[in-house]
Symmetry: C3
């Protein structure tokens, strides 16, 4: 290699490390978004629990994904010397300047989104440590298995789809791999956990549990939206592969989600702030191949879908999914995986190279896998340790029951 080439290569590696780092930081910031979205949506007596769960889940995810999950998905482990990890030794299998390590950080922030999604569904009544154990199992095994299937070509799933239907399953930034998998795991967890005390009357009518704070809910939504541009655009994982199309599609899908939720949701602040997220969930899969106008439509459908299904899920199905994470991530994610097979087509202005059948199979596979494993994991824990607070603990609130302190301790303690 001549000097200029090697300088370019070095610069390229540094540029990629920087690029992936910023993506990881942005998606890491989304975790604070998950936390505050839950803080604002739950009742005041469960705000502290929301905060602690998200942070603890991130730490458990880090350890589980570092020691187990990343190997399951990518066949790479990190138990060699720091010199080799950094790509600084002769013949190291790791890229220069620790590029593979920053990829771990980036992909960890995706993996840890799974328990963060589930957290919103099981809020206000789940026990703390069993959920931490579920997080370790899900991030160490359940998620990485499907992640590796789709994103690392493991076990021949993608090869088979490509051979059979002309294209592999395309999920650029994880409408299915992250959101639908998280949402359907949450679906199972919510079913296993059961409804909150007092949520329905004896004859099955919904009783409103109004959110504690719209500003905190809104802050959570904003932090998620801001970080999402890292989630989507940095999924390219190299500056060579970065595309401005992903950014444009993301912002148009978000706008579509906002506007549809605004209209269908009749100006409700909870719906509009979740509508932005619905559009972003749905655009992930095809954000690199759809036309911006297609993305606007995909986002708008997702925004309306969320509002309608949130109500349907709560009122008709009587599934007590506190933040509506199954409609949001589970259903809008599923829609996104399928939509990439429609709006990604060249005939609709997209870049093409997708197969509708592959999208359908890949999407349904992810959804069924996640729901099934969700019942296994949470069902197993229910049998072994129990997963639910006692009626009395739930009534006191998760904050006092689990953390021995409320969200505003100064104003809550009796004055001496």
């Amino acid at each position: 290699m001549d000097p200029i080439e090697s300088a370019s290569a070095g610069l390229g590696a540094g540029g990629d490390v920087f690029f992936i780092l910023m993506g990881a930081i942005l998606v890491f910031a989304m975790h604070s978004g998950f936390a505050f979205l839950e803080v604002g949506t739950v009742r005041h007596k469960n705000q502290v629990n929301a905060l602690v769960k998200i942070l603890a889940d991130f730490a458990v995810s880090t350890v589980s994904y570092f020691f187990i999950g990343y190997s399951v998905a990518y066949g790479v482990d990190f138990l060699v010397s720091a010199a080799e990890l950094s790509g600084a030794t002769e013949g190291s299998s790791y890229g220069p300047q620790g590029v593979d390590l920053v990829k771990f950080f980036f992909l960890l922030t995706f993996a840890a989104a799974i328990p963060a999604i589930i957290s919103g569904g099981i809020a206000e009544r789940a026990r703390f440590w069993p959920q931490a154990v579920a997080t370790a199992i899900i991030v160490g095994l359940v998620y990485p298995f499907y992640e590796g299937l789709v994103w690392n070509g493991n076990w021949g799933f993608q090869d088979w789809l490509e051979a059979a239907f002309g294209a592999p399953f395309h999920d650029f930034a994880g409408s299915i791999v992250v959101h639908a998998v998280g949402g359907w795991l949450a679906f199972a967890a919510v079913i296993m956990l059961g409804r909150r005390v007092g949520r329905y009357t004896a004859d099955g009518k919904l009783i409103g549990f109004p959110p504690s704070s719209i500003p905190w809910l809104a802050l959570g939504s904003w932090l998620l939206c801001i970080g999402w541009f890292g989630f989507n655009v940095v999924s390219a994982q190299s500056l060579e592969g970065i595309s401005g199309l992903v950014a444009m599609n993301s912002v148009l899908a978000m706008a579509g989600g906002i506007l549809a939720a605004l209209v269908v949701g009749k100006n409700d602040p909870g719906f509009i702030h979740n509508g932005a997220l619905a559009g972003l969930v749905a655009v992930c899969a095809g954000s690199d191949i759809m036309h911006p106008v297609g993305s606007l439509v995909v986002g708008a459908v997702a925004g309306a879908l969320f509002v309608i299904m949130f109500d349907f899920c709560q009122r008709r199905l009587r599934i007590d999914d506190v933040l509506g994470v199954w409609p949001l991530h589970g259903l809008c994610g599923l829609w996104g995986g399928i939509a990439a097979g429609i709006f990604g087509m060249a005939e609709l202005g997209g870049l093409g190279g997708v197969s509708f059948i592959s999208q359908l199979i890949g999407s349904l596979a992810g959804v069924i896998y996640a729901a099934a494993l969700g019942f296994v994991v949470y069902g197993g824990l229910k049998l072994v340790t129990g997963i639910r607070l006692t009626r009395e603990e739930e009534h006191r609130g998760a904050d006092l029951s689990i953390h021995s302190i409320g969200a505003n301790p100064e104003s809550e303690i009796p004055v001496r």
Copy 2:
């Protein structure tokens, strides 16, 4: 092109996409800052409305700027195939790796700042949908016309200034194009809307409407300040043009604004947090050409100007501009446009190449244009649809009147 050259070019495009993306994300984050600044400054009964307005305005702006505004300013539209948009087809007029699409995202976040600025002025009493219509008109037509005049050299305005006075109008990051235009549009909107009920006594004395929450106000200010470094530095729009001078000037102007507002505003938290913004508004125009010490002075003058004019506007002029967006963006922006013609001069340590006369003409043109069009747009809407809540709705608060829910629903509903 030999392989190395083309690799370099690819890297350059990827680097620029990444750079502009980060700028866009940072300025997008500023919109959450606008939202929380308003949440904290308005009364509790109008917090939800602040949040929904900003998010909805962003979505309306996205659609309006995508289909209309961007063409008006730059003569570019996006209704061709995704392949062509990405610069992936032969002879595409769009740059490689979707660089033109991420530029749209970046410039959209600027355009959408206009309704976000106006929102703070018209808070607590404006109707929702008429304001959404105003946003569509302003972001689709009003703003892009002047934007294109200054930043795209449309209609010969810049050529004429350069020929006549030796230099075009220099507004690097939008003291005039964004802030003054937004602030003077808001000025007109506030006048057309009229004062809040109960804001002045019968003999014209101001009645204090204290802010609901200093922490939310401060969070808004912080989010704006953080994103502002993207607003200013990324205005270079390429890594080749990036300059550390812009970052240094921005931080010094912000410090100047903080210190002046702290002293003149007598340690008031609202003034100091807005003082930081005042300094940043004023430094935009000349941040790439002034000396850091000049920037410190420009920022300090802006901080003092804001405090003095906020009081003057409320007490003497009896303009009920809730967040003081006219003094903040309108007047400090105007000062910034003119100041670039002073502190940008080589004689004062600046980089030179500016004309004081061109700065004066460009700045005043922007201000007059915005105020005039503001009266047209809001005056027209006032005639056609009405723009103001009823007295009763205003008294109940925009939250309950428009959104049927308050900011803290759990504590506000009657206990069952």
Copy 3:
């Protein structure tokens, strides 16, 4: 230089400016984290003061570091023309594209962290302007002296260590230079200031002053954690030097800190959110040379250390350090400086090239220097101007006493 080479060089400078800019923005964002961590931890009557202090300290730091501090540390000043500063003139001693100016911004955000750390210790009872003076002195002189000693090789300290013990003192991102120095300055300030009124019973028993708001505390912690990845990774200060290892080590240390604080702190939200910070404080020094598993251990030790020492400091030592900044930054920072000499060794999987003795000497030198100068600065101010609010002012709260307004003015003023 041939055209390709010079293009590469230009790109490199632009890339570095961008890289350092993002680091500076992220660390700047940490300052909002300091503010909200204090807002949530103090009593309601001192929330405004927390916010104003942090913002004012940042502005004072900017001016002091610009005119004095940066010269003290690096021998560079900025009182030449903007053209020369930008590296645009022939023979300029400043790098191209203002790279040295964005470095100033980055290092300013470190320097200004010192008063932000101290702020949390002296909360609820310190006078405003004497603290602003202390900030000016510390950021202009005290901090830069030690900063230059370690990071610029001034006065032969590093040369001596290298000659005597085989390696200079290694503090990659400032466990000692920033955190321990800040924490031990705070230690002195807290001692000089004395305990809050009513904090201990007559026989020395601690009286609980519960935090006002866990959500604000948590937001502060999240903002600090998010920005910290800029703090650590961008400490490389060039894309050529960037390393993914730093990011991976940071996230593992953070996870270790969270988990240890969760267990040792018995699920307390204040402890877990500070535990994340403890891990990050400790990993700074060796984040570029330790193995990820070593970082996990270093972080876990720091998390436990914080919880244990926070209680010990408050209950046994009766040091009224409100946010526990001495245990957090002072002790976990000290641990981090020493730990780099252990876990950085090649024998423990690290990159090697460190000397335990140099780490011990450098760390203790920083700690002793900071504590001593802290007593000088705050002792001097105590004599000259006084540093403490009157008993009555303290009882009313810093908000009303200093800023004439509370954190929620609308709900606090008497209804008309």
